[in-house]
């Protein structure tokens, strides 16, 4: 057999190439990470500067003195903790509802054939192009007629439509990658559409679900305009509205704004850290990144 010689002849060459490629990839990833991390680091370090001082003339990485006074003021000047809890409550309902509805819609589109599917995908794309501002007044009038202005329902309602046409498209493309035989086999065994969606399709697009859940959470968490338009009592305000108050404090209080911004960013970063293992799993070939 020649296989004993082959490794000796071929292995030495690929290893350095492989190593170089890996090193280049790692270096690129590190640079990209640093680019994205730098603003976060500046935000956190800036929040540790003493409020009330004139702002530094140059980039000051390590404040002198280091203090948590900015954090204290961010949580006492405005009810930031309460507003974050409100945001968390809204996002905790919004995210799963958006995921379920978007996946239903995406699954339905993926199951269609030919022109019907093209038509619906086209419709979703058209919906994506409608300016959000064009819907402000009609939406407000509808919720006012329903007596729901002042409640969280207008903030949650988009989740009943899947959160965003983009989420529906993500799911539609993900479900399209599932071989038709898999779903047909389940149907032949008598499984209904909900059963197929829940037991067969959803487990195969876990990465997409992670991505949509993450995006839906951020969409709800960072939503500024709906709370501004629909909420009319301070006790119900969400975190973005409170950050806006800290923004008005002026240049001497940037540490307070940065502390508030860091506090409001933290849940999103934590969620990303928890969810990233779903993005990086080997099943991504079936999911949103694609094969």
């Amino acid at each position: 057999m020649t296989c004993g010689n082959v490794p000796r002849m071929t292995i030495p060459a690929p290893v350095p190439r492989h190593f170089a490629r890996r090193a280049a990839w790692t270096a690129t990833a590190l640079v990209a990470s640093a680019l994205f991390l730098f603003p976060l680091v500046v935000m956190v370090l800036g929040s540790l500067r003493l409020p009330g001082l004139a702002p530094p003339s140059e980039l000051e990485l390590i404040p002198d003195p280091v203090t948590l006074e900015g954090w204290r003021r961010a949580f006492t000047l405005v009810p930031l903790a309460r507003s974050m809890l409100n945001s968390l409550l809204v996002a905790a309902i919004y995210t799963p509802v958006a995921v379920v509805v978007a996946s239903w819609a995406g699954f339905g589109i993926a199951q269609l054939r030919g022109r019907w599917r093209q038509l619906l995908v086209g419709l979703v794309l058209v919906l994506l192009m409608i300016p959000v501002t064009a819907m402000w007044i009609p939406r407000f009038a509808i919720f006012e007629a329903a007596g729901l202005v002042g409640s969280y329902v207008p903030l949650l309602a988009p989740a009943l439509l899947g959160g965003s046409p983009f989420f529906v498209l993500l799911y539609a493309f993900a479900f399209r990658r599932i071989p038709g035989d898999v779903l047909d086999a389940a149907r032949l065994e008598g499984a209904g559409p909900l059963h197929v969606w829940r037991r067969i399709a959803m487990p195969l697009v876990r990465s997409t679900t992670a991505a949509v859940a993450m995006l839906a959470f951020v969409q709800s968490w960072a939503n500024f305009i709906d709370p501004l338009l629909y909420l009319d009592r301070e006790s119900a305000y969400t975190a973005p509205l409170m950050l806006r108050f800290l923004e008005t404090l002026g240049p001497t209080n940037w540490p307070v704004l940065l502390a508030g911004a860091a506090a409001v960013t933290a849940p999103v970063v934590l969620l990303f850290l928890v969810m990233q293992r779903f993005f990086l799993t080997e099943e991504r070939g079936i999911g949103w990144i694609g094969r």
Partner: protein, 425 residues
């Protein structure tokens, strides 16, 4: 999963009901305001004092941070037939509500009120909120643009605070304060910071005897076209382009004017009263205020906010009781003590609540002395958009290369159609 979904919907409805719970009390008046946390806190104090006095009326405070956000919210709320009973609005933004006829005139109510004395209000502030012969809103404050100055930088240059000055002296002081402190060829301290906007340019035009619009009551266009206006605009623009006493566009982009002043790298800044609380916080910063310079006459720009009431409010009596209290001898000092505004009532403006002896600035009377020289912009529904379009052009001219004579023409071309938009009333 199905059960979880149903549970999520149920929770959403429960939460919605929870937030709405107890909202619709018969005498709960909604008040919409904008401001920083200290101002909002002052409103909470004001409301608490009012509710102590009038236990049968509750005030729901709907506070947002930025005036622009408040206008967006109000515009949508009026369109959706659910405006707040009361709101506080700047006079430059109030036109869009006035022309639509959605405001309840408060002048007649004030006339018959036993608690308000219209004669105590500065007439300039009342005038800014009257529209087509009716006093629609009642002013809460009246501020003007002044020159904030860094006393240490003035002392270093051997200059004393001017009680009054003309353009020539103003420019000379700005030149002497503009310095390259480390000798590297770059300017480290600029003499003057002035936001290149229409409302900062306008006082210079008025000081030179020019006008901004053709008719203050029924404007049809801007008229920054005559010799007086052109000379004023040239002076304004050359402060940056020729004399280099103001920072360049990249320098302002890197560090805004307020930050420069707060950190001692800008000797003078043209701003309204709103900058005062920020400066009071900075330890060691020595600062004061001076009037705007004059040329053929003295002139400054009005800044004023007022209580306005929605015509569709069903709680007008209760809402006006709050206005009476807020603008009366008990309520007005509460807001005045924030230091951010100049009271619209003479009696409060002349009191310690505003003059705050022992606190900076040393010469708060500058604001009161300038009230007699106040000019204002017209009340038209599109004034916000007119300013937005004009500001872009003023900035382009201030930092760019275009001929100063063409600035007025450009503003006229860009804004004339907005004056022609019909009122909806």
């Amino acid at each position: 999963m199905d059960r979880a979904l149903i549970a999520a919907f149920a929770l959403a409805l429960a939460l919605a009901a929870c937030v709405n719970g107890g909202a619709a009390q018969a005498t709960e008046v909604t008040l919409s305001v904008s401001g920083d946390p200290a101002e909002i806190q002052a409103f909470r104090t004001l409301i608490a004092a009012f509710e102590d006095r009038e236990p049968s009326i509750r005030i729901r405070l709907d506070a947002v941070a930025h005036p622009g956000d408040q206008v967006t919210k109000l515009a949508i709320a009026f369109s959706g037939a659910r405006p707040p009973d009361l709101f506080i609005m700047n006079f430059r933004r109030f036109g869009q509500f006035a022309v639509k006829g959605v405001l309840e005139p408060l002048g007649a109510r004030a006339d018959t009120s036993g608690r308000l004395d219209l004669d105590d209000f500065y007439p300039q502030a009342l005038d800014a909120f009257s529209f087509r012969g009716e006093q629609l809103c009642l002013p809460q404050n009246i501020s003007t643009q002044v020159v904030y100055l860094n006393e240490q930088l003035f002392a270093d240059a051997g200059i004393t605070r001017p009680e009054s000055w003309d353009w020539e002296m103003f420019l000379d002081v700005a030149r002497r304060l503009t310095r390259d402190t480390d000798g590297d060829g770059n300017t480290d301290v600029y003499g003057l910071g002035l936001p290149p906007e229409l409302i900062t340019l306008a006082p210079f035009v008025w000081q030179n005897g020019g006008e901004v619009v053709d008719d203050l009551e029924m404007p049809t266009r801007t008229v920054l076209l005559d010799e007086a206006a052109i000379e004023a605009m040239r002076f304004f623009i050359e402060l940056r382009r020729v004399h280099k006493v103001a920072p360049s566009l990249p320098e302002v982009a890197a560090e805004d004017l307020e930050t420069r002043f707060a950190s001692g790298r800008l000797a003078m800044l043209i701003e309204s009263r709103r900058f005062t609380p920020t400066l009071r916080e900075i330890p060691g910063l020595e600062w004061d205020v001076a009037p705007l310079p004059q040329n053929v006459q003295q002139a400054t720009m009005l800044h004023s906010d007022a209580y306005c009431m929605a015509k569709s409010s069903t709680l007008k009596e209760a809402a006006f009781r709050f206005v009476e209290f807020a603008l009366g001898p008990e309520g007005a000092p509460i807001i005045a003590r924030t230091g951010r505004t100049v009271p619209s009532l003479r009696s409060v403006a002349e009191s310690h609540a505003f003059l705050t002896p022992g606190q900076k600035p040393e010469h708060p009377r500058v604001w009161l002395d300038q009230i007699q020289f106040i000019h204002r912009t017209p009340i038209v529904g599109t004034w916000n958009e007119i300013e937005d379009r004009a500001d872009v052009i003023v900035e382009e001219w201030f930092y760019g290369q275009e001929r100063p004579e063409a600035l007025g023409v450009e503003i006229d071309i860009a804004t004339r159609e907005l004056f022609a938009e019909p009122d909806i009333s």
